[in-house]
């Protein structure tokens, strides 16, 4: 069996190299971009596709996915109405729509920001040497083979620049819309780089949705937070059930900056969120919360690395998973407190609610501490619905179904309520929480 898997992986890697030759011939990336694409492909060849014992993938089986012959990105026909239904109320004039990874100027509207938000092509932004250097460094240090594939193939993408002291009151929504394909599986590589200047503030909602399934959306987000900058970062994974979803979020936090992230996932064939978050300078604060509500064969996996590289910083994580059917969730989260990151405060808590015998959840909260004056906690719980709570609600006349739904909802709700955007909270009530009413 091991030999068969190795053969499959070798074949899959050859496919990627072959596809990359096709891509270079078709897209003909210009010099700046070509250098990045090629550096990333070299990195891909070094990393290779993960086998089951790979540290990052011990509980995530990607063999079937990487063996799928995904066609290269191409823009499918898109119904404007299907896209608009995913734009949150309040974001009609503050939204960027990427269809299959490409910014759609007709579907996007950022008039709410006037000149305060600069939106440009990420490829054009490579003329800024510091940005190009930053991306090159992330590629050379990349440890995630799927993010590497994104870097090898991306040839569009968006660069958002919020200048120093600019406060964007209105939230910006980015919609990653995948048209999918009825015939053969397709893959897209959306990419966004955001620079929030010193003392600037931005609220961002990224939503992932799809039209007809059978797609692999492999996105990368880079976020650079300047001194005392602030970002609220909400990801809503609401892809077609018949889809694969990978996202990598990399963020760098400068002095006194604040990054407040929440992820709400409804799962798909295989969804994986990778967070690589670097606290670079003193006084920064980071919050990362997540909720997954899964049923049937759905999967959501979180891989989190928080790097404390400076003293006097805080990080906190709260994750909850509700798993039923034969669904699977996992959280592999490590907080690394580097030497010199004294007086770090870090908390991590993962709670799981298991609603069926077939559901599966793997959790690995982890701490690596190389400083001696820090306060760190981590923990995980796994449980079913508590009989005493259920009985209490029944004695008040609630049926078993209603009582169970109320208890599971209340479990999930505590994370959803942390999201600051009422339209998102409302939508999750209708999508994520609705799944618990069955």
């Amino acid at each position: 069996m091991a030999g068969a898997t190795a053969d499959k992986l070798n074949q899959a890697e050859s496919n990627i190299l072959e596809k990359h030759r096709e891509y270079l011939a078709e897209a003909k990336p210009k010099e700046d971009l070509l250098a990045l694409n090629q550096a990333a492909l070299a990195r891909f060849e070094t990393l290779g596709f993960p086998h089951r014992k790979h540290e990052m993938y011990t509980v995530v089986n990607t063999t079937e996915m990487v063996s799928t012959d995904f066609a290269l990105t191409r823009e499918g026909p898109v119904e404007a109405q299907a896209v608009q239904s995913h734009i949150y109320s309040g974001c009609e004039k503050s939204c960027l729509v990427l269809v299959d990874g490409k910014l759609s100027s007709t579907l996007s509207d950022t008039s709410a920001f006037g000149d305060s938000l600069k939106v440009s092509s990420l490829v054009d932004a490579l003329s800024d040497a510091s940005l190009k250097q930053y991306i090159l460094e992330t590629i050379e240090n990349e440890n995630d083979v799927f993010a590497c594939i994104n870097s090898s193939f991306f040839n569009s993408g968006v660069f958002l620049d919020v200048e120093d002291k600019t406060v964007l009151e209105t939230p910006l929504q980015i919609l990653h819309f995948s048209t999918g394909s009825k015939e053969a599986p397709v893959t897209t590589h959306p990419r966004v780089l955001i620079r929030v200047g010193a003392h600037a503030e931005m609220k961002l909602i990224i939503k992932y949705a799809g039209q007809s399934g059978n797609y692999f959306v492999n996105s990368v987000q880079d976020i650079l937070l300047g001194e005392n900058a602030s970002m609220t970062y909400t990801q809503v994974q609401n892809d077609h059930a018949d889809a694969w979803h990978y996202s990598k979020t990399r963020a760098e936090l400068k002095r006194d900056s604040r990054f407040r992230a929440t992820n709400a996932s409804s799962g798909c064939k295989l969804a994986r969120h990778h967070y690589d978050l670097f606290i670079k300078e003193p006084g920064a604060e980071l919050e990362l919360n997540g909720i997954s509500v899964l049923d049937d064969e759905e999967q959501v996996h979180n891989f989190i690395r928080i790097h404390h590289e400076a003293p006097h910083c805080n990080s906190s994580q709260k994750f909850k998973n509700v798993v039923s059917g034969n669904s699977r969730s996992s959280i592999d989260g490590t907080v690394i407190v580097n030497q010199g990151a004294q007086l770090t405060n870090s908390d991590q808590l993962i709670n799981n609610l298991m609603l069926s015998d077939g559901a599966h959840s793997d959790n690995k909260p982890n701490l690596m501490i190389f400083a001696d004056d820090v306060k760190c906690t981590h923990g995980t719980t796994v449980g079913q619905i508590e009989e005493e709570q259920l009985f209490y609600l029944k004695t008040r006349g609630l049926t078993a179904e209603v009582a169970k739904a109320l208890l599971t909802k209340s479990f999930a709700e505590s994370i959803i309520q942390l999201i600051q955007f009422p339209a998102v909270v409302k939508e999750l009530g209708n999508t994520l929480l609705r799944k618990l009413e069955a």
Partner: protein, 248 residues
């Protein structure tokens, strides 16, 4: 209304109730007293249908229906309310919202229109004012972080909203300071009328200074060892339970 005949009940295979018979009629208040571990709470749990408590013999009927065959929620909808000795904390469920769901459960069962949040809020405010409860109870999550007294008051609030035919209060008076006890007694006395009935399970005679029972029963080692009028409670207060406990 409630008829219990030669009830035997056990939990985890241990027999706790060893033959209890009791009849509670409309308009009556019964106090059930007894030492710790005598089976008082087990009786309450059997009547409300706790899954871990099993009636092994005898029968319990409520308005002629076999109660033991009914699910806890059906018993509740039939008009039975149990005030818990240790009310359960349910984080994430808003108290006012929960109260409205419980209130509407019966309306839904009867195919009637549910009360909307605004109308229910009026009803809730009115009930809370009569009980002398602060508004904060509405905003908080169900029993989460409540003190012992707050939890018991919240039970009484639920009872006054649901207006049951038969309420069983399981040591609702335990651990209360006098002000909270007055709220509880006040709630009970407001609910009392000719058509409903009440079983007060208590360890202390003090509650009976505020709620006058029609009958007092003493349970010991799973049996009713003495029944009488309200004076019995005073006797118990003066003499303790020892004189009633069967010597083995």
């Amino acid at each position: 209304m409630l008829v219990i005949k030669d009830l035997h009940a056990s939990v985890d295979g241990t027999e706790i109730i060893k033959g209890i018979s009791l009849t509670v009629n409309k308009g009556e208040v019964h106090a059930i007293m007894g030492p710790n571990g005598s089976g008082k709470s087990t009786l309450a749990k059997i009547i409300s249908g706790h899954p871990q408590y099993e009636a092994t013999a005898g029968e319990v009927t409520f308005e002629g229906k076999n109660l033991l065959e009914m699910d806890p929620e059906d018993r509740a909808l039939a008009g039975i309310f149990m005030g818990f000795q240790y009310p359960v904390e349910i984080p994430g469920v808003n108290n006012a919202e929960f109260l409205r769901m419980a209130y509407n459960a019966r309306l839904i069962r009867d195919g009637k229109e549910e009360l909307d949040p605004l109308d229910f809020d009026e009803l809730l405010d009115e009930k809370m004012e009569t009980l002398g409860m602060e508004k904060k109870y509405k905003e908080r999550n169900l029993n989460e972080g409540f003190s012992g007294g707050e939890k018991k008051k919240n039970e009484i609030l639920q009872m006054s909203i649901l207006e049951p035919k038969l309420a069983i209060l399981d040591e609702t008076d335990s651990g209360l300071d006098i002000d909270a006890l007055k709220v509880v007694a006040n709630g009970v006395n407001k609910l009392r009328n000719e058509d409903n009935a009440l079983i007060l399970i208590t360890h202390y005679q003090r509650l009976l200074d505020y709620i006058k029972p029609d009958k007092v029963h003493v349970i010991s080692q799973g049996k009713i060892v003495k029944s009488g009028e309200k004076d019995l409670a005073l006797e118990l207060e003066a003499q303790g339970y020892d004189w009633l406990t069967p010597t083995s």
